[in-house]
Subunit: 341 residues, 5 copies
């Protein structure tokens, strides 16, 4: 018996069946209709969204002849991306990425089961990135209507992998913003944000690594259901996955630099604090000493008796202070914001 | 002759024998009974807990036909996880993980010897994670009663690997608590705790790495006793082991970030100490200079003779002090807790 | 239908056709002429610069019999460097590097399609590094006129890889300048510059890594169109790519050292600030105490009554000050610029 | 001609010859006796300790038919651990580890040459870890007397690898002591000691890595002289070597943490110094300002004329001081040893 | 046409021809003589030093039948170490290392071309490390005179690899000196020296890595010209290269520790500066406050009127000062050079 995630939405099944000549598209209410839809010519795409009815899913499993273990991987999300043969069914587990508002990333498992003449896709929540693909099927754009089920599987995987490009672009923007923040305006939360970004990149890197391995298996394994002409296309998807992985790895390396910039920024502030203290103390401590001298109560202190004494002390103090200010200026200690100099 | 760990508890042997139709379960007091239990049809599970009687164990070894080196690995705990053929016996060494109170982790070696029609399990201390499995056998849940000894071995390994999930989840909680502690309340012991967590993760990572290798060997080796249908199931266990390893590696990477947060937290405190000193010194040092000026004893100091002199000095001092406070406020040096700004 | 980058310049096609005896060179205005140029003996080099006319490019694709996926990789720049067979066409994607003014590096994708008796090169913008090669073909220098299309492809790849040597040399100069800056004159922007250099090196390293892999595939793959004698030459290009990669890796390692030097430089400045404060405060604080003593108003303070009192205090203060200055001098705290001592 | 290390002790040769029924043991004074001892049934162990007589060793080499290069590796210590066939002789170079007093580790090369029916062991200095093995042979304990020369070689390697366990245990103790020292009592020498430990672990790791590779070669190579039943035993030695390597790697990782603890410990002290300065300065600087105010010489300062003036100033100063002390206490700056708070 | 480095010295060619019975040695003035020298029995060593005459080298190339690409690698120094077959010629590129005065290391490319019955060596500058080898050939020491050209090539490579041992030993001395400098006497140049050493080690590591790969190719490749008995000897050279590589890697790891020691040393100095300031300020600030109190001008300050007042203040100040000194002493702040405590 299948165990499904609690609170999962009810499954909605849509079937799309096409060949070079025609397209038929309809929602499936009664699961028993499926049996008739996957036999005969053409390609059938069974699209299942929502896992909220175990008996329903179990029946789909039986009708499509999917191995119980494969179905368990489909339902118990998240599994790591992988591609595994189960007799003449082929299970591909992958992860779709989409941007949510406020720069949050949403990752959802998409599982494909490829059978003879059909592809079944399973996802936990409604909504996906396949609408352009559906349009292309409906209007017969490109070669998809003239190809088999393996080409449909390729097109789905292509859409999934291409969905990562806007996500990594967004992440690039996040890192640039963090770099600016670390340089100009770092506070304690900055470091937390950098580490959160690093953690996310680490997670994406592992995911994409496994995705690439899985695609590599589909390309090179003898048990893969992809025909040779479609493998040429799949090689392209593999290339894109490698490109995404490359960018993610570069970004993760950059976070190390961000921490360095943050720490150096904090250090610069400490430096400024110390310079402020030093400038003030170094100017006034000698002056205070001087006025202390003439606060002494010796009976015999000739300067105190002179009329010009007081003015002379002020003059000396001014010279000392200006001299020190000039010296600090020359060492660059008076400019703010130029922390490191 | 077997050498057993000192102070080991006496061995307790329980035997469970089943086929599709029936289940028989009994403790074994006299070791010689075993010989009769492992022949004939069905699957026999010999469960040995405690190593405190070398002669008894040696006799089990002889009856089950286990190689002396295999038995040595069983008894001399801990061995690293591995899977090794000894003729038609197959030794699997693995490690069970359970959470103890106060977030301590208990690791105990479980050794499986797989023979024709039977599986023998050995562990040092009583208590294990197999009660749900026993229930499934007793009540014939799932397919286990219809399968052979290799499926029993799979089910045992599955329970062992799945036992790691709550442990790594707990570790995730520990790391989160440490991150908060490092940010808000770091003292010297924090660094020690971070390093202890890192050490534990390092140890678990190695362990899980070897577990994965061992499972990979069972999956792909020609000498592995697992039949093809059971290997499909075992592939699942392998997947779970990889998932556990992934999480552990991610956690270990996170500890590097924890040290950075800790150090930056300590740095922030130093910063606050310095800012306090700088604010106090920078305000009072000029004022002290000023009062020093009017503490001088020159005969001719016209201000001293004026009635408004004293009040004017106070006024000047107030303006200077307030000006500096305003300047510090604008630079953000007066807010506490915002260490980094 | 091909999708080309927006705003791409119009394609300019030049064809060069040669054999041991003669060279023919002409621009191609009407794409249909191409069909006649690639048949018959000799080697034809079709050089396409600019992607601004999709229909034109699509027609070239058809005439040359290039797979649509290969053409997509040619046009959708940048792709990662790779070498892939498409039936009896062979696609090589590579990246040319040139120095722009102000030490900026320009990377442009160059795609080669190798067919029977011809090589087609594609690049987005006009201008390349092949003029010396064209000269060698025109004047029959070297063996190129006596060799086939695979030798032409080798010669092109050789020029591309050799184009990296001046670039990495320039980068070496940049790193040396940064090292000097980090040591002598580090300000906050220095760290940014170091990280920018690191990022660039990271990117070049990945690129060159893939270039090397791609060359290795051309050398060893059974589907590679290079004949055995030409592979000897190609091995040379592979060697050069490895040398470039080596230098880049060494440079990237050096940036780690640059950050250390920068941080230590900033630290040295903090050290100098602290030493300044310490020297000034340590000299004047005891003196200020001393003059404070004789500013007390006790009725009975015999020194105050002595004629030599004032002079004696000055003498004592001079001795103390000079003693401290000597002590600081001996500890090396008075020398500027010798930050670390 | 063999070149031997200068000042090497004179070689002492002991021969042990045994089969299932009997044991014969004798020192060999005249090298020519050896020829007679290695022919005929049984297993012969030729144990050579000391390299001080090149002619003697050269004659042994000739009698045993060892390749000159193999003999050069035996004598020119230290070589890296390896296993190499020389025709029907098999050279194994390994390294024995023993603890000397004061936690120093002594590493000595042990070379084995395995020939048909005999094993020759060579070491530079007298003394080894094989006495328990000799006892087992003398008294026929275990299976050794019933096995061939390859089992003797296994038993020797087993003793060598097991000799590492007490050494790594000792190193674990050293690291724990260093961790405590780094936390409680770090001075400059601590860092030196940590680096020395790291260097030693690095060296041991390389050594053990090579040892493992060499054992792996003996297990899997077709040229290895070990029979299949003995390879089961050798697999055990390989396992132990892997375990030792694991512990060493974990220890080396720990030294990174030790440096962090040391640096943080030093940082804590700096923190304490700064806090001391800040507390003292922050309390007294305002008070000094206050007393400065009433040291001014204005003619009109009404407070000075009041009887309660002096007492009031003291009262104010007490309130300020106590208030600051209370504020410091609340921030935790007054507790010593709690460096990080 | 060969392109040679500018300003290269004129080539000097010496030929050594030997077999078991005799040795013939002579300089070659006229390049055409060479043709006669490489035919017939025995082994011929053609030793070319200096590349200053392209036509001369080109003629050598033709006479010896060397591929133009191989000759280009010989002349265009430096190439990375490698071993490559060109038909029945075999090119080995390697690098000789020698120590120059002042601990500088000189690296020079040595190229070997191995043909049937001869070995040609090429180097840019006169002077090499082969004189002991020449002596051995002249006097028939060892087996070299009885072996073929492959043994000569082995002997040359052996000399090259063994030439690294004194170099790495010297580097070990450099690192030890740097460690002492970093601990005792670090100034800003120290860090620069550490990074220079790291850079050099990095370069040597890459070089030696490639050297090892190249030797491994000679050992295992089917196209290698080395006969089986000579491969036993070559295995020895490979071992030595691995040993050199091991030491270099260990040294490079050590430089990381050196930077830590340097930084901690600089930190210690900062610590001392801060402690000096803190000790002086903490002792004198309270005293200055005290004398300030009795500098106040209140009409009613009874202590001022007492005869013992002044002495009492001195007494109190002495007690406070001594108390603080004792307290600092107990915390260990007064000892110099014990930076970390």
């Amino acid at each position: 018996m299948l165990v499904v995630p609690e609170g999962a939405p009810k499954p909605v099944v849509r079937v799309m069946r096409y060949d070079a000549g025609q397209v038929e598209e309809k929602p499936v209410e009664d699961v028993e209709q499926l049996a008739a839809l996957v036999v005969g010519g053409g390609v059938t795409w069974i699209d299942v969204q929502g896992f909220g009815d175990p008996a329903f899913l179990e029946r789909i499993r039986e009708i499509l002849g999917i191995h119980p273990l494969a179905m368990a991987d489909v339902v118990n999300v998240p599994q790591r991306p992988k591609a595994e043969p189960y007799g003449d069914r082929y299970l591909v587990v992958t992860r779709m990425a989409t941007m949510l508002p406020e720069r949050r990333i949403h990752l959802e498992q998409l599982s494909l089961v490829i059978g003879p003449g059909w592809v079944a896709t399973f996802q936990e929540d409604p909504g996906d990135c396949f609408d352009p693909l559906r349009e292309r099927i409906r209007h017969g754009l490109g070669v998809i209507r003239r190809m088999g089920a393996d080409f449909l599987a390729y097109a789905l995987l292509d859409a999934v992998v291409d969905g990562y490009f806007p996500v990594v672009e967004e992440l690039g923007g996040v890192l640039e913003a963090l770099e600016e923040e670390a340089m100009e305006d770092a506070d304690r939360a900055t470091l937390g944000r950098i580490h959160a970004a690093r953690r996310l990149l680490l997670q994406l890197e592992r995911l994409q690594w496994q995705q690439r391995e899985s695609l590599s298996g589909m390309l090179h394994s003898a048990e893969s259901p992809f025909s040779d002409p479609v493998r040429l296309y799949l090689r392209d998807v593999h290339d894109h996955a490698v490109q995404v992985l490359d960018v993610i790895e570069t970004y993760r390396q950059m976070t190390v630099g961000l921490v360095e910039i943050y720490l150096s920024s904090v250090n610069n502030r400490m430096n400024e604090v110390m310079k402020t203290l030093t400038v003030v103390a170094t100017i006034f401590i000698p002056l205070t000493f001087l006025v202390g001298v003439y606060g002494m109560n010796f009976d015999y202190m000739p300067e105190l008796r002179e009329r010009w004494g007081y003015a002379a002390v002020w003059a000396v103090m001014l010279v000392v202070a200006l001299g020190l200010v000039y010296w600090f200026h020359r060492r660059g200690w008076l400019e703010r914001g130029d922390g490191g100099r």
